[in-house]
């Protein structure tokens, strides 16, 4: 199934685009999905999303249906579902 990924704040800037779509399996974990997104994106996006061990960084926030979700959470995604990837921001 195809799900949509929306980038916000610095993640959008690093990705160089508003978002992307990724083909996933219902059994894929959230971390697997984000890893796929990272590997298909720019190098700067990849290093922002993943650490040296290719694990999802703890500073990445993932929202699904207007709720913050953790990478361990098992979500019921459907074709057309949207995940938002962002980080805290800090400017004033």
């Amino acid at each position: 199934m195809l799900i949509h990924i929306k980038f916000e704040s610095q993640v959008r800037r690093l990705a160089g685009c508003e978002g992307t779509s990724v083909d996933v399996l219902a059994s894929d974990s959230l971390e697997q999905i984000v890893c796929e997104v990272a590997k298909a994106g720019t190098e700067s996006l990849r290093s922002a999303l993943l650490d040296e061990q290719e694990s999802l960084r703890s500073s990445i926030l993932i929202f699904f249906d207007c709720e913050l979700v953790s990478k361990e959470q098992k979500l019921v995604l459907q074709d057309g579902s949207e995940l938002t990837l962002t980080t805290l921001i800090s400017g004033g």
Binding site: E8, S9, Q10, V11, R13, L14, S44, S47, A48, R57, S58, S59, I60, L61, F63, C66, E67, L68, S70, T86, T87, L88, I89, S90, G91, G92
Partner: protein, 261 residues
């Protein structure tokens, strides 16, 4: 969720309003849920604003206008040219002068009865506890995550609410942290995002929007009016005027607040 910072049995201790107060705050006292009691609560409140830049300066200005009794400002350094596109408490004539000194002068020009305490230092691990101790509510408007995390630890330790607000380019975000009840900043992100840079793209109108929303959040926390952003994060993209209210949850393994009941 509505968070009252004072219980009813404390109301007798609130400062009274005089004719001067009523002449200035009359129109906002007409707002539902405010009245004389709400205005007295504002007069009794003390708010720490970390940094008086584009966001924090707007927060402080709006709180001064609303009649908050005491504002504590923490911000190091002198005014630079590059501050003036957003830091509305600063002045061109003040370039080279202390930011907090100029901010105090501007706030007192609007509200001469305001008690303004200034600290020409940014929040850090060694002063955060002391600064937070001075206030009933904290507003975090710092540009550095190290400052934000230091403030977060202090408010969790002292069980004080903090309005956490920030902007980046056309985007803004806002939440209210109530230790023990809501996620703290470290629940959301235990470390700073790797890509964060000290200098960031910013329009004053974006900072000011976030600052006004944060000031309103403080007013609600003080008076008990309305519904705060406790447990929610308001995000906005002013390039599209898209606003979203998102639910955020505590990290049960958070090293900062997991023992905070």
């Amino acid at each position: 969720m509505s968070e009252r910072i004072r219980r009813d049995d404390e109301l007798d201790e609130l400062p009274a309003l005089d004719e001067w107060d009523r002449s200035i705050y009359e129109w906002q006292m007409w707002a539902e849920g405010i009245g004389e009691l709400g205005q007295r609560k504002l007069k009794a409140a003390s708010v720490l604003v970390s940094r008086v830049g584009g966001v924090g300066g707007t927060v402080a200005y709006q709180l001064a206008a609303a009649g908050v009794g005491k504002i504590i400002l923490a911000h190091a350094g002198q005014i630079r040219h590059s501050d003036l596109n957003r830091q509305l408490l600063m002045t061109y004539e003040g370039i080279g002068q202390s930011r907090v000194e100029v901010a105090r002068t501007r706030l007192l020009a609007l509200n001469p009865r305001l008690d303004v305490e200034i600290h020409a230092e940014n929040v850090n691990e060694s002063n955060a506890e002391k600064l937070v101790h001075k206030a009933t509510i904290v507003v975090d408007c710092a540009p550095l995550f190290s400052e934000r995390f230091a403030m977060n630890r202090a408010i969790v330790n002292q069980r004080k609410p903090m309005v956490e607000c920030a902007m980046y380019e056309y985007e803004g975000s806002l939440t209210t942290i109530v230790p023990g009840k809501t996620p703290c900043l470290a629940c959301l992100s235990p470390v700073a995002p790797t890509a964060w840079r000290r200098e960031f793209p910013v329009f004053g109108a974006v900072s000011g929007t976030v600052g006004c929303l944060a000031a309103m959040e403080v007013i609600k926390l003080i008076t008990g009016v309305g519904e705060s952003l406790a447990g929610c994060m308001l995000t906005m993209d002013l390039s599209t005027m898209a606003f979203s209210r998102r639910k955020i949850v505590k990290n049960q393994n958070c090293k900062v607040c997991k023992d905070c009941a």
